[in-house]
Every structure is written in C-alpha cells, then in structure tokens.
C-alpha cells in the first residue's frame, strides 16, 4: 500500500493541465501556412515533391485531407512560402475547409447543431473502427485516454460495443476486407449518430489512395461530421476539435 502511494506521488500532476492552451514544440508540423508572396516563375517544386499530390499551384493551395505533414514541401520551397506552424487546431466539419490557401490563417469547425449538442454535449461515447489503420492513429487515440490527455474529464470516452456508442471514429483508408465489418458496426450504433474521420488515410486514402485494396463507398453514402487531419493527428487536435465542435470550451 505504501509502495502504491509512493508510486502515485512519483507520477506528480498531469503534464497537460489545460488542453486548449497547451503548446507543442516548434518542430511539430501542425497547420501549414502559405505566405502571401509570389512564387518564382514556373516553380512547381512543392507540388512535384508532394507524395499524395495534396498541393495545387496557381493559385497555391494545400489539401490537408491528403497532406501527410511530411517536411518535403517546406524543404524544397526556395522562397520559404510554405511553412509549418505548431498550431494543432486542425479539425473541421466540412471537407472543403481542409483546402488551405494564402488567405487561411486558422481553421476550426462550425458548432454542431443544437440537437447534437443537446444529445452529446455532456457525454459522448465513441466506437473506434480501424479499417486499414497502421496503428499510428490507433496509438494516438489510445493516448487520449492516458493520464496526460485524460479525455474522460470532458465526458468523451471510447466504448467497447457500437451499441453503447454515439458515433464512430474511423482510422485507415477503409480496406476492402474491412468494408463489411465497418458497415455492420455503423448499423449497430443507435440513432442519432456521428462519424469522425481520423487521419489522412480515412479522410482521403492518404498514401494508399491509389491502392486497389481499398473500398471507400461507405464514406460516400454517409454524412461525415468531423474531419481530423494528420498522419497521425496529434491527440490535442482530436480533443480540441471535439470541444470546439461541441462548444465546450
């Protein structure tokens, strides 16, 4: 018993006291910004180097749904026009909001409908489906429940059964072999229910978008409530996105 108390004292306080004001190291690749400067004539280096073709030129834009937050575009840009910030607030409620242009300074989701906030505002139980996720996203989702992020303090938790859930969180590019199970799991969640896409693979297929082994019809047939971009997204991106969406900050 004394050993247990000693160990508890050793743990000290939670590392992250307030999730909304927490800051990440400078090196962290969060929201990219595009400086309002002209590109050198004909330069398409960033678009050429991008592994998922997330970058369009003339005018320059980045699709965060495809972006893997790798350092390549920032590295090749001769004028330092594209560069990452450590802003982890990346969650949005509509796919088109993930397209970053020169005008974009910050991105955030619109508040959820009154009905959703009434139903889920104080308690949101989620069922996670890994449909081809590499375990990167899964580890970050698991980290949300650890003592540092402690998502449970906001009434948001992952549950074992879809029947106990208010919505699903999908990771991975939706493989053919998981198509059926994903549908069955979603059907088992009682109405009203939400769908959250976590990570570039779920949002766009990511690096696997040209794979013949994916089957993404499920996403076309259902309304997506929240997009969490990243590869994998930081736990703070998820937690702050949900808190913004549910208007709980």
């Amino acid at each position: 018993m004394i050993d247990a108390i000693k160990l508890r004292i050793l743990q000290r306080d939670s590392i992250i006291q307030d999730v909304s004001t927490a800051s990440l190291p400078k090196l962290f690749r969060g929201l990219p910004v595009i400086e309002d400067k002209p590109c050198p004539d004909g330069c398409k280096k960033c678009a050429e180097v991008c592994p998922t073709n997330a970058i369009k030129t003339e005018p320059l834009s980045i699709d965060l749904g495809l972006c893997l937050f790798c350092p390549l575009c920032e590295e090749v840009c001769p004028e330092k026009i594209i560069h990452y910030t450590n802003d982890f607030n990346l969650a949005v409620d509509k796919r088109e909001k993930l397209i970053i242009t020169k005008e974009t300074k910050t991105i955030s989701p619109e508040k959820a409908s009154e009905k959703i906030r009434k139903y889920f505002g104080r308690s949101l139980k989620l069922r996670q489906i890994s449909a081809g996720g590499c375990n990167g996203c899964e580890l970050e989702l698991n980290a949300l429940s650890n003592v540092n992020f402690d998502m449970g303090r906001f009434g948001i938790e992952f549950v074992a059964s879809p029947r106990h859930a208010d919505g699903i969180v999908i990771t991975g590019p939706l493989t053919k072999n998981m198509a059926n199970a994903t549908q069955i799991c979603y059907d088992a969640v009682p109405n009203p229910k939400i769908i959250i896409l976590f990570g570039a693979c779920a949002i766009s297929g990511g690096i696997f978008k040209n794979s013949e082994e994916t089957e993404r019809k499920f996403l076309e047939q259902n309304k997506i409530d929240l997009y969490i971009p990243g590869c994998p997204p930081h736990p703070l991106t998820f937690i702050n996105g949900l808190l913004d969406w549910l208007d709980k900050k």
């Binding site: 592994p51 799991c185 082994e213």
Partner: protein, 492 residues
Amino acid sequence: MNSLKVQNGEVFNHNEIEFLNADKFHASVLNGLSNGYRMIGLFPVDKKNPNKIVSILSDSASSSLYIIGYENKGDKLEFESFANQFPQTNYFECELAENYGYKPLYHPWLRPVRKQNIILGSQPYKFFKLDGDEVHEVAVGPIHAGVIEPGHFRFQCHGELVYHLEINLGYQHRGIESLMLNANPNQRIILSESIAGDTVIGHTSTHCNAFESLTETQINLRAQVIRSIAEELERIAMHLTGLGGIANDIGFALPASAYGRLRTLVINSLASLCGSRFGRGLFVYGGVRFDFNDENIKQIKSNLEIVKKDIEAINDFLFSSTGALIRFENTGVVSKDFAGKIGLVGTAAKACGIELDSRINFPYGAYRYFPVSPITLSTGDVFARARLRALEIDESLRFIFEQLENIPSGITTEKVGELRINSGVISIVEGWRGEIIHSAFTDEEGKIIQYKIKDPSFNNWYGLSLALRNTAISDFPLCNKSFDLSYAGHDL
C-alpha cells in the same frame, strides 16, 4: 546446398543465383533447414513472373543468408512442401500459394494469409473445428473491444480451457508491396513509415538500408548513430506501451497509467528530434533529415533521466506484486523447442531462451561499432515476455546515454545515386518486436521488380495460437498483449 551466400544488406547480382529444378531445390532447402537455418523468405524474384522463386535461409550463428533459387518449368505452379518436417516454413508456403497461385504439394493444412476465407484462388476455407461433448466455439473480431486493429480469432474451447485457437487476419491489407513497385522515392519512404505505424523507425530503417545498398551509398557514422538512437527510442516507447497494456489487462491501473506517462516523455523525445512523435520524416535515403543539436540533446537527456529513475520504481511495483505474478507466471507458455520449430523471432523468441537479435546476429548501421548486450529469459510465459521488455528498456537506455555522450561529427546526408541493375538485397533490422526483413530486386533497367516485406508478426502470430493451448480463455487478452503483434505489419 546450392546457394548464394550473402550478408545482411549486401547487394548481389541476382543473375548469380542458380535456379535449380524441383528435386534439387527441395533437397537444398531441406539440407539447409536440417542444418538449423531458418526460412526468412519464399517468393518470386519478379512479382510479375512467378516461375522463378527464391527461398532465403538465415544462419544466425554465422550471420549468413543463403539464397536458393527454383525455376518452375512445368505447366502448373507447384513445389514440394517442407512444412511437414519443418513447421516454420508453413506460413511462407501459404503466402506463396495465396499470392502467386503456387500449390505446395503434400502441405498439411493450407490456410488463407490475407484473403478472407479462400484458399488456392477460389476454394472456400473451413476453419478447424473440434467435435465432442461440451466443446464450444468462440468467435471474436474483426472488431475488438478496445481501440485496436482488426483480426478474427476462433477459439475451440472445452469449458474455460482453450484447446485450439485459429487466427484469421488480412483485414488491414492495403497492398503495400504492390504500391512499392510503382512509387517514387518520396512515396516509398512514406509507405515504409506506414507499414506498421508503431514501428516507423524499424521499417523505414530496414527500407533505407536496402535502398542505400542498392544504390551503393555509404552512410556517415553520425547519421547511423542518430538512426540507432531513434530505433532505441522507439523500442523504449513501445515496450512501455506494452508493459502498460499488460498491467491494464490484469486490471492493475496504477502501473498501467505510470508506464503510459513515461511513454509520453519518450515519444516527445523523438518529436524533439524530428517533429513527429513516431519518428515520421526522420529518414531520407543517404542518412537522416534532422540533426542533433545542444538543445534537443539536452531535452532528450532530461526526459530519459526521468524515465530511468521512475521506471525502476514502477517495475519493482509491478514485478513484486503477488497478484500480478500469479497472472503472469506459467500463463501462455511456449517451450523453447516449439519456439524453434515454428520459427519465433524477436521478444517472443528471446523470452523462450532463443538467442536471436538482429542487432547482434546480423549487425547493421551503428550496431556494428557499438554493440548491445543479448538478453534472454527461459520460461516462455507472459512473465518472461513482460520482464524481457523491462530489461530491454534498461539496455536501450544505456545504449542511448552512451551514444549521446559521444556523437561522431560529420554530415547527416549523403548523395544517393541510381539503383543498381539486375541486383538484389536482403535488409534486416531488429525492430522492437523483432526481426524485420525487406528484400528488393531490380531488373536490367534498374526498376524495382520485387519488394518483399516480412514483419516479425508474420512469424509470431502462430506462437500466440500455441501459447493459448490449455490456457483459460479469460487469459487471452493478457497473452495477446504479451506478444503485442502487429496486424498492419502482417497484413501489409
């Protein structure tokens, strides 16, 4: 044994492989396996031409790899199975059958590897089923209770006791090996980072080593040391996750959360080097993208000092708790004999007393100059697999502290040339789970014609099946976590 002998990461001309006929191939492979070599690969040299296949055997005692070729000259794709005498080859044969339509003659029990319920192209697969009074079947998955990857488990039980467990995977299959062939270099590195997102450093290191060999690039020692420090950070982080998971699975909340807290410090150390908590973006062909400086060295050191100090108390607390030990000891036992026969690798093998660590047996990168100590335990139960991870964390911490004191100077990236034509390479790295192998082959234009990935989980899932025999079904989560295998790495 007619074979081509190579070393880990040694580039060779694949025209030098002698492609034998069926009888000679069978005799050569049997000869090698009888010498105690392990099968680590069985696949065609060219993904589009299944007629010429290679079997790769590894001899960890002499750090050698033997490549034995086979040319199928008949109308039908077939070869004689080795699995009856050497069960370790079973899964490799199943994979060859599934991917290329080969029929392994006299194979005892063909099963699907990544396809769902189909073998030999179109034949329906029937799960093994036990008959008898009071025998019942429990089916779990693909979706499990936690935030975890999908897989399907079928238990044949008698009361609480598991007689047999069959594991059916493939739900995570994304076609990485096919994507690798047509990907550009930037995409290839990102694909490697995504083979198993918990082993980013391990797989990307294996991949980069392979391609640096194929382009005949020598890496600066500084970059090699940075790579190995990252590899050890990943090992510590994932072993902490595993230990936390094991504690959680016996309902022991305090050590579970304590390990979780320390893991955050370790992955944040990796982030202070390269901006990603999993080490994404760190690797480039020819070295590493991010360098150490006074600031991040200081950060990593101070983080790891806390880990070193605290983990001792947490380990003492967990491993001296009678309640925990009762659950750990003699649970999910795999004997050394079985482990050898089915070809276990990594922590699962080391926990059974098998000395097999690629950093020691097939040294690569910085481990050639700065070795790590071999660690093995002998009981092969949950306790051994858990305790071994605690011991490996200590050794990794020692390695990192030692390297951080004395990082060689130099540049961190070398220029990389064109891929060598008609060449092949077998690259081995000891990921935190165990032996990761990537094999790459090029054609006469220097284009990649085969890219084969073997995650340690490919060998070890069957070990979990065996561990469950005569174990209570309620101990399954604990056994599963003690093996801590990758679904994505297996499914590719």
